[in-house]
Symmetry: C2
Subunit: 457 residues, 2 copies
């Protein structure tokens, strides 16, 4: 334990970069429910998954027992271009809030993809390359994941084919251009390049697309093209595994200064960032070595944890993917336009869902305007313009710090700042112009979507 | 000297942050020529400058003798939010180029303003605050400087009034929204808020504005409003002084690993980044302690060093500012549309101009498409999407590294990566679509602009 003043930014050195990812599932007594074949309702086998995903990633997906997976040297070398990422002490935010709480955030935005997505993109691209594949396909909405994957593929010399929801392709051309600069082919979805795309276009000629449709197109191309596989940026166990690098670095940085966190807060869409951030802390909690309060923050417009049910559901709206048991609003639920595009997912990682169901973590939902108010305050005092997604965590961290001001408690609050908002200025403009509104789904809407959940015994 | 492998990123610790800025002029035997009053052609006095600029900044502007200016604690605390910035070893670029050269870049883009501009913005805002002023005014084109100043003012609770060239205000709304999020007022220029703006609007009703006009409006508001002063993001001696933090950190990081640079390369518009980067190295050269090759890189479309003349000229197209002796194309020269907005300045810092005139540094101009090709290569192997401005330095660093491949020399090349290109995707799109062209001014054009230089004895 160091006795010097905690710096503004705690940087681990490159040789302190984690050498292995940590698999939370290994320490869970009750494991997350398995993925099911949508036709037979039997657990998906490695062989079935292998047609869609790379072999090594299928192993990681299905392995509930191995505690640590070594990070290959090639991936660690790539990580060194932007990791270890800083753990920042939010001195200025503390002063602004006049709180006795100590606030830290793990900042994952200092790379061109602008978010933590790169941590898993490079891992998935690496295993595809290692398997001798020619390329990978994926879908992207706002573009963070597509950008991250394009960067990883450019580095490894792998083809990258991205299906981008048409409305984003046209209205948000900038992330599309980043992907193209990294050599990816970016196709607006639905497209005429796939069977499913043509079918959808015939049925709905004027459609601007959806994430569900883009997933279906990306999967179709992957399974029907020699040497290609499909990759996904969130929800899956493998993605949480790769993202554990966030939590491992966070814990190492805290340990270095002898700091014990009381509370860990992260935004949650599909759960990749939160699952990665809390991983080693949850491990200690599962093993009974330490206790932490862990809070998932989701948008009030898409409240899977706080208003969803724990049930088997389709992962995509096109219903081509396996069934996953998760907290879900129903794959038929269409989230209202919300600027935190990365949090507009109807379900939640199976692993996090199981941990939440066991009462090992809690969740809160927050309305959009409150989130942007917190984002603005944060930007002004801490300098960084945060992504709308990340700002959900900021909002609850600030709420907790303000509670500490009232109670006098000197809690140590750690939150995940997943990324920057440089490509979200349309949303900030709406907020600056006072035109942002909050949409909270009604009980009736949620009940209607729930009624369409698949029946699984 | 450490014998361990040089890491990908050399991070100094916060207590290694420089405690004083270094003033190159103190070590110059022949000093840069003084600013002249545009009416009398006599050197500007502190009193004259004090009507426009803050007192402390006027002192820094005029002081050719003091070698070090202590960095106030408040500014150092702000610096700690994003500094020390990393000095990156470009291992992946070296491998890509198969060069024996060792390439390093000082990366200034890891902050929300996206560039090095923040280093001087916080200094200028701090002295304004310390003088008890209410606010500052400035102009911005593409918006980097305006964003940086907005951030600094938000942090200190100072009013910030930005005149933004109308065409940028309308066509590039994103940086405008960043400024608004930081609480700045952003006015499209020309505006009806100033005398000069109204005059220009009356004469040219449909004008989309120019930097020269925006400067004039910002200066008018500063001198006519109680408690306001004008601030500027480049060209001036004070700005180079503040930016010396870049070079001081670079030198400290190199020294820490016992590395001796052979060559230092930076892009040059007004000269703020280059002047800061080379400062301590130039100091050693001026004092005869060491030698370095130093190269300014400018766009072929705006070649102040390589095709300009060394003469007194107006700093702005509106001709309201003092005259400066500098390498210039003439304040009447209108650079062709070039996506490196930050390099579209007709002149060059007086200090750098004098050093260049003395043969202490060299300059090269590069065409735009070559610059974007270099940018794309760099982005793909090093991860970071560079600003078009910074990519000028990348281009020449790559050229030099390729020369080393041919000669077998193991030169150590250091270049300045001033910022990120996240707000320059329109330019990248043009490049990706093969629609980018190069404009190189003709000798006749340059002669016509030169003919309008002011006559100074």
């Amino acid at each position: 334990m160091s006795t010097e003043k905690i710096p503004y930014k705690i940087y681990l050195s490159e040789n302190e970069l984690p050498t292995a990812w940590y698999n939370m599932r290994a320490d869970m007594k009750k494991k997350p429910a398995p993925l099911l074949n949508p036709g037979t309702h039997q657990p998906m086998t490695a062989q079935e998954l292998g047609g869609v995903f790379c072999e090594e990633l299928v192993k990681q997906e299905l392995d509930n027992d191995t505690r640590f997976f070594e990070i290959p040297t090639e991936i660690r070398d790539f990580y060194k271009m932007y990791r270890p990422s800083p753990l920042v002490r939010a001195y200025c935010l503390e002063e602004k809030l006049k709180t006795p709480a100590k606030i830290y955030y793990k900042f994952e935005g200092n790379n061109t993809s602008g978010s933590h997505k790169l941590n898993s993109a490079i891992a998935q691209a690496y295993y595809a390359k290692k398997q001798g594949l020619k390329g990978v396909t994926t879908e992207t909405g706002a573009g963070q994941w597509g950008t991250a994957l394009s960067m990883a593929c450019a580095y490894l010399g792998l083809d990258c084919k991205v299906f981008m929801v048409k409305v984003s392709y046209e209205q948000k051309p900038f992330r599309r251009e980043v992907m193209r600069t990294y050599g990816a082919s970016v196709t607006p979805s639905p497209s005429t390049e796939t069977e499913v795309g043509r079918r959808i276009l015939a049925a709905h000629p004027g459609t601007t697309g959806s994430l569900g449709c883009a997933i279906s197109e990306a999967v179709e191309v992957a399974v029907s093209t020699e040497g290609y596989r499909y990759v996904l940026g969130s929800v899956l166990n493998q993605v949480l595994l790769h993202q554990s690098v966030i939590g491992l670095e966070t814990k190492a940085a805290l340990d270095k200064y002898g700091i014990k966190a009381d509370m860990i807060i992260g935004c949650a869409g599909g759960g990749s960032n939160l699952g990665g951030l809390i991983a080693p802390f949850m491990g200690e909690k599962l093993r009974g070595e330490a206790d932490y309060e862990m809070i998932a923050v989701e948008p009030a417009s898409c409240p899977s944890f706080t208003r969803g049910v724990y049930a088997y559901d389709f992962c995509d709206t096109g219903m081509v993917c396996p069934l996953a048991k998760m907290y879900t609003l129903g794959s038929d639920f269409i989230p209202a336009p919300n600027h935190a595009g990365g949090l507009r997912y109807h379900g939640m990682s199976s692993t996090l869902s199981e941990l939440y169901d066991q009462g090992l973590m809690t969740a809160r939902s927050v309305p959009q305007t409150d989130v942007f108010e917190a984002a603005e305050t944060f930007a002004r005092v801490e300098g960084i313009l945060p992504a709308p997604e990340s700002s959900h965590a900021i909002k609850v961290a600030m709420d907790e710090a303000i509670k500490c001001r009232e109670t006098g408690e000197e809690k140590t609050i750690v939150f995940g700042l997943t990324g920057t908002g440089y490509f979200d200025l349309v949303a900030y403009q709406k907020f600056n112009d006072g035109l942002m509104d909050d949409y909270i789904p009604t009980d009736e809407e949620l009940a209607a979507a729930r009624a369409k959940l698949p029946k699984v015994d």
